[in-house]
Amino acid sequence: MSVRLEIQLASRPGALLRLLGLAERRGYTPFRVHAAPFGPTTQMVHLTVSKERPVDQLIQQMRKLYDVRNVEKR
């Protein structure tokens, strides 16, 4: 089982690494990631993670990150 997340992220040093590191640390396995510019200061990240743990927990944790503008489940 997997779930796809759409994350709007500020383009700042370490932002993508912090996002992926959070997913790994919290026990989710990211196995597909695609990042592309989305406006002048943000990027859109499509992230597919394993769904062994409740994904809403991961979304709540991601929303706490300073660089995360928005997280949606797709």
Partner: protein, 576 residues
């Protein structure tokens, strides 16, 4: 204000000077740190600044001192280190701050931007290294961003659920001249005018109130978040209005004054029996600023098995993370508790439950007079705390003594009990005491430590000596790593692997060589005099207390069990 150096024109200031100026505008008056190559420009600016700098003897000491300062004062603790090993040494203090939600800002030197990524001398990836142990990290790549980033770092550290923020400052950015016209003294603030006086949505409020009113056996389970939200007064009023029994976590000790009959004490692995029994038999758990830590819950399936859960926390990700909440509310506790106070006007109709809780407390009253010839740590700590007075601060390290402090030191406010809860950092206590004493120079600060823990940051005795801070150290020495030894005794068939420290140095002579007064005690009849001598001797003092190495911490919920399995002191230990 930072004075301007002679070689700087009035219109130009270095990045380092601007960084200090913005910090002072944020209310910082003291910083803890250790200089080095990549942070030299900042220390040069510090030389001209009115900021007070406390030189610790290790970056971990500086980070933990800033951490203790923040815990004792509620202000942001600031630490400074150079690049490379300076940063790697900071990590423990930052991680400790993250796990216990302590507002901190760390300024770290970095090699010049042109050298970054070349394995330059003392270069490490600070942003990458600190990522999992801070709330956020910045690297200043452009001088013009510096004021905003520093200000933003303080805002992030303080806001919501507090935590440490690191700001990595490349050396060339620190040295570069910023024209004043480019330096916004006050970066734009994006505060939204939001009315947060009623943070609990109406439908949740109705549900919460119904839950509380319909419970027969409600219990408040309060965590560190209450004090962090500056909600102690509202919390006490609510408990008083409802007349509801209350248990506290390690981080919430002091929320309920020791003489308060509704206070059931600390719950969890080494919690008081009355607290754990109350949790196991309540029908509603009102969790306030607490996070259902595994040391609190024991075996999760069996934790508060009959209880519905009302959980209020400022961090949405805590709601339902460990234990499902029947009603979960993401809110700042200060206005949230005031909102609840508007609804409740009188005591809950739960007299039988109150009587049961009072009976639990009476049944489990501690026996402070066991037949030991040696010093009895629980009694010593109880009497020490009473002698210190109601305003004193106690810091501790990690291990058996930490649990004895939690169980037996009756402090009156959460900011008086500084303990490394989440990370469990041995070596926390001494630098935290330094930070607390710097932040609150008028109160008595005691560090209760162990012979294992004190050696983790023993170099900070030099900081005590340097500033002649009147911190009193109570070193409980059981010639070993007591808590690990206890687990080996109880769960690993007494295979005592690497927990013997009987070759410790002579701690009295060590302390004296750092400029402290020091003495030793080993018999129970010396306890009272030792406390008097410790508190009455001016300046920094260490008392070396020799304990029976076989003493264990009781009660104990064995790992893997739920909180209804409570082991108590076996009779044979009492014959010692």
């Amino acid at each position: 204000m930072t004075s301007v150096k002679p070689n700087q024109t009035a219109k130009h200031r270095t990045g380092a000077a601007v960084a200090l100026e913005v910090m002072q505008a944020e209310g910082v008056d003291v910083v803890f740190g250790y200089p080095g190559g990549a942070i030299l420009p900042l220390y040069d600016a510090l030389h001209d600044s009115s900021l007070r700098h406390i030189l610790c003897r290790h970056e971990q000491g500086a980070a933990l001192a800033a951490n203790g300062y923040a815990r004792a004062t509620g202000k942001v603790g600031v630490c400074i280190a150079t690049s490379g090993p300076g940063v790697t040494n900071l990590l423990t203090g930052l991680a400790d701050g993250l796990l216990d939600s302590v507002p901190m800002v760390a300024l770290t030197g970095q090699v010049a931007t042109a050298s970054m990524g070349t394995d330059a001398f003392q270069e490490v990836d600070t942003l990458g290294l600190t990522m999992p142990v801070v709330k956020h990290g910045f690297i200043v790549e452009k001088l013009a961003d510096l004021p905003f980033i520093i200000r933003e770092a303080f805002r992030i550290a303080r806001s919501g659920r507090p935590g440490p923020v690191v700001v990595d400052l490349p050396k060339d950015i620190q040295s570069a001249q910023l024209r004043l016209a480019q330096s916004p003294a006050l970066p734009p603030v994006h505060a939204q005018a939001v009315d947060d006086s009623n943070p609990i949505p109406a439908d949740r409020l109705v549900k919460a109130v119904r839950m509380i009113q319909s419970a027969q056996r409600p219990l408040v389970y309060a965590g560190g978040g209450v004090a962090m939200a500056d909600a102690v007064d509202s919390f006490r009023r609510l408990v008083d209005v409802l007349q509801v029994p209350t248990v506290t976590t390690l981080k919430a000790i002091g929320l309920m004054p020791p003489e308060e009959p509704l206070g059931m004490g600390m719950l969890g692995m080494h919690g008081l029996e009355e607290a754990n029994r109350a949790v196991q038999s309540c029908d509603l758990l009102i969790a306030l600023g607490a996070r259902f830590d595994d040391r609190v819950t024991g075996k999760l399936d069996g934790f508060a098995p009959h209880a519905r859960v009302l959980h209020i926390d400022i961090d949405a990700s805590e709601l339902g993370k460990v234990r499902r909440a029947d009603v979960g509310i993401c809110a700042d506790l200060k206005p949230a508790l005031k909102q609840l106070l508007k609804v409740f006007k009188g005591a809950l109709d739960i007299d039988p439950w109150r009587r049961e809780c009072a009976q639990l407390k009476a049944t489990n009253a501690w026996d402070y007079d066991p037949p030991y010839e040696s010093v009895y740590a629980p009694r010593l700590l109880r009497d020490l705390c009473a002698a210190q007075g109601p305003d004193g601060v106690i810091t501790c390290d990690v291990g058996q003594h930490q649990m004895w402090v939690a169980q037996h030191c009756g402090v009156h406010e959460p900011t008086q009990h500084l303990s490394s809860g989440g990370l469990g950092t041995m070596g926390f206590g001494l630098p935290a005491a330094i930070g607390a004493q710097i932040g609150r120079p008028d109160v008595s600060v005691i560090n209760v430590t162990g012979d294992g823990s004190i050696m983790m940051n023993i170099q900070e005795l030099a900081t005590l000596g340097r500033y002649q801070l009147p911190v009193k150290i109570v070193l409980l020495d059981n010639s070993g790593l007591g808590m690990v030894r206890q687990w080996q005794e109880l769960f690993l068939e007494e295979r005592f692997s690497e927990t013997d420290l009987s070759d410790n140095p002579d701690f009295v002579r060590v302390a004296e060589s750092f400029g402290l007064s020091a003495f030793a005690v080993r018999q129970r009849d010396q306890e009272a005099q030792a406390i008097r001598r410790l508190l009455e001797t001016p300046g920094p003092v260490l008392v070396h207390v020799i304990l029976d190495p076989r003493a264990n911490v009781w009660p104990m919920v064995p790992p893997g069990c739920d909180n209804s399995t409570i082991w108590k002191e076996p009779a044979h230990e009492r014959q010692a």
